[in-house]
């Protein structure tokens, strides 16, 4: 009896999870694996269009003979690169209409015109002309004829499904001189974005954890950058930072803090002179990182605040009795309590910043030294149009991601053991 119940339970469970598993498999897992397939192929964006046989139907009346009509089909192969084999043609006609003569490719049977048009090479064009007559010697209505659309079918080779593979994409990725630069930009962006967001998150959480007027409102406000759509925020920032008409530059010039406008998003390097040493700061990248911190510190704030509120008050009271000062309290009580949250946060944010695409894409489009790996996927795949290369870069991202996840779950497992 119990084994039967267990069986029913099992079957129900599979039934309940099946739809989700199927969907996630086909839209997330399958594409990740097909990345591997595509990355070993030489595919370009223009190859993705499946070649189609196309026909345009023109209806022309014949002079002085309203019972007859001429129909011209303008046939063509839509693809400029591939041939279509075994093209079949089908069109429907109203009753009482018949072709006067037909070539041997076509047949007319019970109002249906069927043709076998053979193989079409690339860029192929042909006109098919047929004259029809009304069997009852009545006038033919052009409108009715036009209302039917011809249907064509044909086979073509799908470049994605062939078994031709190449290693060129990966060779190009690794041999590319910019690859090291690409990696260092990505890590620079990821690391400083993550650290900055966490530091500001701790500061904000410390503040909001105290009682003051308007505290709940403050908590909502702090989350605004995180919940608002990235498109709106990125374009607002772009307008604020614009070198000629941007508010920030105009304000700084107005207060005579700077002499001329600074192109914060369009300038790759700026030389800073600190204590006699010249530092080369990557300006556009720094600006993008600041945007990143501005947008994502609320998340760190939320996590850390939740943890801070769970810290027992007695600890602080005991510290007060011992005469500890605020810095000691922070270092010896608060920090150890939130360290676990911070490490998890760091890993998660690191993974997500590593894959961040929208923010940089919208702010700079990857120009002036802000090209990271995800931006490169887009540029290779869609700007240059080399789908295979784009996929190869995606694979590089996935490999890094797997390494990070391994570390993350190792850490998580260790944490679970400790508790």
């Amino acid at each position: 009896m119990s084994s039967k119940l267990a069986k029913i339970e099992k079957r129900t469970a599979y039934l309940l999870i099946l739809p989700s598993v199927l969907l996630v498999f086909s839209i997330i897992l399958f594409p990740i694996f097909s990345n591997i397939w595509i990355s070993f192929k030489n595919v370009e964006l223009k190859d993705l269009r499946i070649p189609e046989p196309r026909a345009k139907k023109l209806v022309k009346s014949i002079k002085d003979n309203p019972t007859q009509i001429k129909i011209i089909y303008k046939l063509r192969n839509s693809s400029l690169t591939q041939e279509i084999t075994n093209v079949k043609f089908k069109d429907k006609y109203p009753d009482n209409i018949e072709p006067i003569s037909l070539n041997n490719k076509c047949q007319f049977k019970s109002n249906l015109l069927k043709c076998e048009l053979g193989n079409w090479p690339k860029k192929y064009r042909e006109n098919l002309e047929i004259v029809f007559q009304n069997t009852n010697n009545q006038e033919i209505s052009k409108k009715e004829l036009k209302s039917y659309k011809p249907k064509l079918s044909g086979k073509s080779q799908n470049i994605l499904l062939t078994y031709e593979f190449t290693l060129n994409n990966f060779k190009k990725v690794i041999k590319d001189k910019a690859f090291i630069d690409l990696l260092s930009t990505t890590f620079y962006y990821t690391f400083f974005g993550t650290i900055g967001a966490i530091i500001f998150g701790i500061l904000a959480a410390q503040m909001v954890n105290q009682k003051f007027f308007g505290r709940t409102f403050m908590r909502s406000v702090l989350l605004f950058p995180y919940v608002a759509p990235v498109v709106a925020l990125a374009y607002t920032w772009e307008l604020l930072l614009d070198p000629t008409s941007g508010t920030l530059n105009n304000l700084l010039i107005n207060y005579q803090i700077i002499d001329g406008p600074i192109n914060l998003l369009g300038q790759k390097y700026v030389t800073l002179n600190i204590l006699g040493f010249d530092f080369k700061l990557r300006l556009a990248l720094t600006t993008v990182i600041i945007f990143e911190i501005w947008r994502y510190f609320p998340l760190a704030f939320l996590f850390i605040l939740a943890r801070l509120q769970a810290v027992p008050k007695e600890l602080y009271e005991a510290a007060d009795v011992d005469g500890a000062n605020p810095i000691q309290k922070f270092l010896n009580i608060t920090l150890p309590q939130i360290l676990a949250v911070i490490s998890i946060l760091f890993m998660i944010r690191f993974i997500w910043n590593f894959n961040k695409f929208e923010d940089i894409f919208l702010l700079t489009g990857g120009a002036s030294g802000t090209r990271t790996l995800p931006i490169n996927v887009y540029q290779q795949g869609f700007s240059i149009g080399d789908i295979g290369m784009g996929s190869a870069v995606s694979i590089v991202i996935v490999v890094f991601l797997l390494i990070f996840m391994f570390i993350y779950f190792k850490l998580l497992g260790k944490r679970a053991d400790e508790n």
Partner: protein, 397 residues
Amino acid sequence: MKIKNIFTYCFISSLFLFSLICIWKILVTLQGIEITNFNFNKLFIFGIILCAINLLIGKKLNLNIKIILLALLFSIFDYFISTNLPIWYSFGIFLISLFFFNNIKDYDKNFLSKNHSSQKLFFNFLTLFGITLFSFVILFPFYMMLVTSFKTQALLLLNPLDFSINFAQGLPELFKSYFIVFKDYNFGRYMLTSTIVSLGTVIITLIFAIPAAYAVARLNFFGKNFLSTSILIIYLFPAIVLVIPLYTIFSQLGLRNSIEGLLIVYTATTLPVAIYMLQGYFKSIPKELEEAGIIDGQNWLGIIFKIILPLSLPAISSVALYVFMIAWNEFLFSLMFLDRPNTFTLSRAIQFLNVGAETPRQYLMAGSVVVTLPILIIFVYFEKYLVSGLTAGSVKG
């Protein structure tokens, strides 16, 4: 009383006051009023003097009279060193200094002679300072977005720092950018698409996720542990590695430029987090309730609908709001999959506006307000649910 403490107190206080004044001056400048100098030296030194006076008076005077007196002194001083400024500017200065002196009114000689008083002082100011600065930095872009949408290109070229809203021109003229964005740029249609896509994603995700989450939380089956860990792993895979294969597959299936295609992708990408969040909650529902249901002769479906669902409404609403937010804000897939304007979502439409040649910035900002406002209203209104959703699911972003 240590000299060091007095010095830190005066220095930090005056610096804080000065930064408050700076923020106020920036806001006033953006109303088109000409202020070209922060007057750092004079204001800072005068601030130090006033703070010292505050310390000297201590509690000898009624505290309310003391702060009003000090604030008045400060505003009058500011009025004399700056010229040709409207009276509301000085009134603002007065209110700010009132707020400031109200905060330092309790400090006197006794406080400063206590242990760690300079550190405490520092932290108190850091909090105040932080709250003001953080709110300013966060709200400033939103504020600029809003006020830019009320200006015109010509006015902005004339004075790029004048963002004052002229109410005298009448409402139709004021909201002109919004009318144009909706009329000429078809934003009504995009808004409808965005709403349909987001709501559709929420509904389909819930239909898929609730049974799956229930199975993972409650039922025993082979591969359960594997499934629950893979949910988290799958969730960590970013959209950018899916984009190329999905693009190729969708273009061959003819699913690009269709709402259906977008719905499928959004649902699949939000499903793992929805299942992850829901199963956690389902596990917290006492098992006895379900057992009672089984005794009453309910089948699995009955248990889900009659017992689990009513009990987990808060969790379901936070999942729904979170998924809605993700779908509404989503940009990458809509950029990839939509290139015909009649299928655009709001985010994609705004990007199209920006790329399109020479769209005046007030239209761009009006569009941005249109896409931002609904989500902020929803967020503020359902803050409790959304925050719990964010904390549970915010591994993504």
